[in-house]
Symmetry: C2
Subunit: 267 residues, 2 copies
């Protein structure tokens, strides 16, 4: 599978309507299931090295529409990592205190320290999406925020944080199906929110806002990947592979110590 | 296996020398390996309910001597949980800022919110252990801290946080073996610290400090378990079972919603 096919190149103008929300690859569901355990073991081992090395860190940003699969991706891709080295932070409506700060303030506190993988379930991108869709900020403010985001991500990178951003791309029909599933299944009732139905009315506006935001902020070092996400198995397989490739590129190493282990005697 | 055998009853005066650091049960290593996957799946499902219910939380405190197996327990028992619902916090030497506060200040910020499991890799108990061993606090201050700890834990419980505390009980020989293993294995060099050898000289003082602290703070609702921890498989199996039993007692439920799912139509 050519992972770069899903990556938005810097300067490329994203049109979501041109990208499929369905599995576009010949990869079969069975093949993905077969390789999953092996890939997760590789991921686990790379995470262990990242933690031991304690020099770099990884920030994974997950964005999508409601019911787009953020929780499912975390559950299926990241379960199996050592929880000591991974931290998930969800960003909901800003609190009153958070609103009294710039929009990057609350997220900055949760960026990964060296050795760690941080996963943002929603992120600072909400502040150029939901706010934009509902007209809370105009074009000029939005562009200023894009610039602030690029500078913020650059500052993180310069301190050893690698950033990958996933937009899980689902269709309107698939969202409808998932909402209905939440209504039909008592164990999923708690996931249903009337507000999600209200937001669904802004489907086209969200499409435009995502296109704008991703186009403006996909850079060589903090790229966006647009993941066809109607099929959960395909989404999970693709995110897992991209993560793995990224960690392989980061190439973390067990540290070399500055003492001679042979010289030490334990009483 | 009778899990209560490992629990310190409120008022019981703990003598570590009377407790074995070795697997005391007839459970075989093979049997533990066979049941591990099933127990972890149960744990995963209970965690999902805890997260969905969003009313209670669980705090797991891990304490032991150096090389006692905190990291290994986290790796082997908690890997497999959904990282969205679990958070590990390690407490090292307090920073300058932390030292300018009472000893519970820095840990309070990391207690679990509703729906979450928090694991403390070391904890506020260090402030009645390492400080006590090195004479930084006297008997009177230590007893005051015990009282503060009991009050703190009670306050957490009253807000729905269940607390379980594990002391991983290893022998001096086993610690020596593990230190040597860290020296012999290049991938473990980074875990070796000269300071651990210095602390090893205070073996007996730590024994006393642990006995005092556990005796003073094992309560009906925030119990200590002393886990024979020389054999890693036995330790992991026992911690996993105690966790599971605790979550079963908490009995989290998927929430019942206050709307009629059948009445909702999705456009």
């Amino acid at each position: 599978m050519k992972l770069d096919n899903y990556r938005i190149i810097e300067g490329q103008h994203l049109k979501l309507s041109e990208l499929s929300t369905e599995a576009t690859d010949k990869t079969s569901k069975e093949e993905a299931a077969v390789r999953k355990a092996a890939l997760q073991l590789q991921l686990f081992n790379l995470q262990e090295r990242l933690f031991a090395e304690d020099q770099q860190s990884l920030l994974v940003v997950l964005q999508t529409r409601d019911a787009g699969g953020k929780d499912g991706t975390i559950k299926h891709v990241f379960t199996g990592l050592n929880p000591q080295g991974v931290r998930v932070t969800g960003f909901k409506e800003p609190t009153e205190l958070e609103q009294r700060h710039d929009f990057l303030w609350r997220v900055h506190a949760h960026t990964p320290e060296t050795g760690m993988i941080s996963i943002f379930n929603r992120s600072y991108y909400e502040d150029v999406l939901v706010t934009r869709v509902h007209g809370e900020i105009g074009k000029k403010d939005t562009e200023q925020r894009f610039e602030q985001i690029r500078a913020f991500e650059k500052a993180l990178e310069s301190r050893g944080t690698r950033i990958i951003k996933f937009y899980l791309n689902i269709s309107s029909d698939e969202q409808k199906k998932r909402f209905q599933d939440r209504l039909d299944n008592p164990e999923k009732h708690w996931k249903f929110s009337q507000n999600d139905l209200n937001e669904r009315k802004f489907w086209k506006e969200y499409t435009l806002a995502y296109e704008e935001a991703i186009t403006a902020t996909s850079t060589a070092t903090a790229p966006w990947y647009v993941i066809p996400a109607d099929q959960k198995w395909f989404r999970n397989d693709l995110v897992l592979q991209i993560l793995l490739k990224t960690l392989e590129e980061m190439n973390p190493q067990f540290p070399v110590v500055d003492f001679d282990p042979k010289s030490i005697v334990i009483d």
